[in-house]
Symmetry: C2
Subunit: 492 residues, 2 copies
Amino acid sequence: MFESAELGHKIDKQTYAREEPGLRAALLDAQFELAQAGKFPVLILIGGVDGAGKGETVNLLNEWMDPRHIQTRAFGDASDEESERPPMWRFWRELPPRGKIGILFGSWYTAPIVDRVIGRTDDKDLQQSLDEIVRFERMLRDERVLLLKFWFHLGKKQQKNRLRELEKDPRTRWRVTKLDWQRFKIYDQFREISSHALRETSTADAPWTVVEGLDPRYRSLTVGKVLLEAMRERLAAHNSKQASVKAPPLPKTDNLGLLRNLDLTQKLARPKYKKDLEKWQGRLNLLSREKKYFRKRSLVLVFEGADAAGKGGAIRRITAAIDARHYQIIPVAAPTEEERAQPYLWRFWRHAPRRGRITIFDRSWYGRVLVERVEGFCDVADWMRAYSEINDFEEQLVDNGAIVCKFWLQTSRAEQLKRFKLREKTSFKHFKITPEDWRNRENWNAYEQAVCDMIDRTSTEIAPWFVIEAEDKYFGRIKILRTIVEQMGQVL
Amino acid sequence: MFESAELGHKIDKQTYAREEPGLRAALLDAQFELAQAGKFPVLILIGGVDGAGKGETVNLLNEWMDPRHIQTRAFGDASDEESERPPMWRFWRELPPRGKIGILFGSWYTAPIVDRVIGRTDDKDLQQSLDEIVRFERMLRDERVLLLKFWFHLGKKQQKNRLRELEKDPRTRWRVTKLDWQRFKIYDQFREISSHALRETSTADAPWTVVEGLDPRYRSLTVGKVLLEAMRERLAAHNSKQASVKAPPLPKTDNLGLLRNLDLTQKLARPKYKKDLEKWQGRLNLLSREKKYFRKRSLVLVFEGADAAGKGGAIRRITAAIDARHYQIIPVAAPTEEERAQPYLWRFWRHAPRRGRITIFDRSWYGRVLVERVEGFCDVADWMRAYSEINDFEEQLVDNGAIVCKFWLQTSRAEQLKRFKLREKTSFKHFKITPEDWRNRENWNAYEQAVCDMIDRTSTEIAPWFVIEAEDKYFGRIKILRTIVEQMGQVL
């Protein structure tokens, strides 16, 4: 991986002086075009060994281009708001929106590599992290993020010389810390493991560019040219308006039984409901106050279901049992402008709960494989890939201590009609029925297919789907409450 | 303040049973209308003594209305991201957008009252905090926030009985902690100081409603009715489309000299510029690395100036001197959808820097008193009140350790024309000139007046304006760099 970055590449002064002004102007032009088009962001990762010119290069990029449209972020220790959420949360929150350039100094590679070098993890852990990274970066690619990864390298001798050099000069002495020398001692392990990590994650879509860090002129021109070429290529591709990639259609499944075989006749009489409600709300209340265990965990509830299936009512029976200070309901509607400028899952990541909290999603990230799929609001390829992206997202929530319960509320088509009509009559519920609801109703079969696919593809052991027979509201609500209590009890 | 809340108010069961369903339906209707109109948010503050039913009431409001459109936030200890910013930052980030209801459990009153009770502050500090609160709440009113403040009260004996009662019942025992009894010991001081605080902040626009907390039925109906009436009244006022309040015009000033008397002929020859640039950039670099001092402070730079006055060029000369990991540039353009749903300053508060960081605003919150004033993008009353709101905002930044430098870059009208024409010719600068720039140029005199007013009204000792003669770019840039270094040196 590093062989050709130890050859002593050099660019002489004249060549640099000749090439730099043109490169600079071209980069500025490309940045302008990027902002004007506003169709994709550029994300630049900077990694590598100390003293190899990472900081200098980042500063230079900010100097060459318009720094007002570059977001440079360095990742030091996590803040407490960050450390109480899945590790990727801090990177998600710093993704540049479309039209902008983001430079990440340190990235999702830092922890996996460093943890392995100092022996905090083993080879299997590292491999798992790298697999996750590959999937994450594939998602970025699919979301049209232009991802560029630069690794600044120095041979062992070169690094030693470089650190000594910096130490000698009073103007640069501050840059060499004890930590740098400590890290130098484990140069060989660091080299071996990062070489492995780079190889595993150097995919066709997001290859690493290893830059020899010895000669400032060489590394500057190298990074500048790679960046320029990648931006130009993508801008040209964008202008030529490629046909969108068509994913193969899903094989026709006969799993409709999943919904159709439900016993929707199940009922609960009012007196029994009242009694059960008190019982399960009481238990939920107790569990939600289990400070000792719950402060290391969080609860994520996802509610999906056809219109008028009773999501709102079910949610109110849950919130009635818990303290308003501990939960947060996220009603998912159309994305805002800021959300539309980001990868699809960004608007859900921003609500990822801290430990000890409860977050209830009234509709969720599953919109992509339900309404967006059925109504054709996104490309086929987009909802096809959403299944695995969603699984990855939920896995990260669970790894961080979240208990994730997902509910699909099912009624019959006839019952839906009854409720629609009833609602149109009842005064204080009138807000729940819109022309869109009537339209969605027309697509009942398409939704049924989408729901079955969704459950098949995203009901995992760690984040299962619970299909709720919601024809009878009482029955549905109690089943939901009981399920939550059981899931929490199982984990806490 | 608390006299009539110690009378033992009670509502009997029948009355409650008769009134509750209607109140509930009406609240839900009002909430719906609020969401539909989307014109203002409702902000409910909950304060008072322990055991007086604060939590129960908040839960009840969530039960009565649609909890999906209520944001309940409790404020415990500040997170590190919060504690490194001005104290009000955590409240700003939780303000509900238009159309939503926000309930704050604990608020900007908590710290001033508690700090005074335990003797961490004196009467003068308290008074200052209360004054600031009054100004802050006036801003909320002017931003069309419907603010409702509820204080839950219990007499001393009543509180004692209440805590004992809660302790006896195994189902509520968990709610009484040692802290509650500790606080009970200082009941008298707490009563005295909160009574004073409430009186001082019970303004015509945002009066306190003191609720006797003894009887759950009484307190529930009281809060529900006050909330309902306030929402209805505001919704009606909104529907009747009142004429917007006209503020008195500013007295004609003759302070135009402020800009016109500038000596725009000041110049710097290139060799001297080169030398000076190196000198001041070097000093700025050193200062930005003064970890020991700077980690308790932050630097906020504000750049305003006519189009083509050289803001971008000046900013680049600053960023070239500091590490890209330490600064962030916020180019201020039109507000996003999420920003438009909030009070004006919200979109700047969200970028308030943590300690140790440098934030550079390329255009800023002064847009309101410049472009928005001149172009008539906001009401007269809105930009009139902006001066003092801005002063309050900057004072909070400075109190939190920020060094705030504001630059107005001035050129002559002729020089602007020259630069416009030059830019239209030069390839990689073409992005800087838009039809809007030409339009703004037509309003030169109106802008001049606005700038003079702005400087007069917002150049404070703690956050001064520096007017920069920017006719000669070299001269302007050096003056800016020198000013920053001087300001930092003075403070660090």
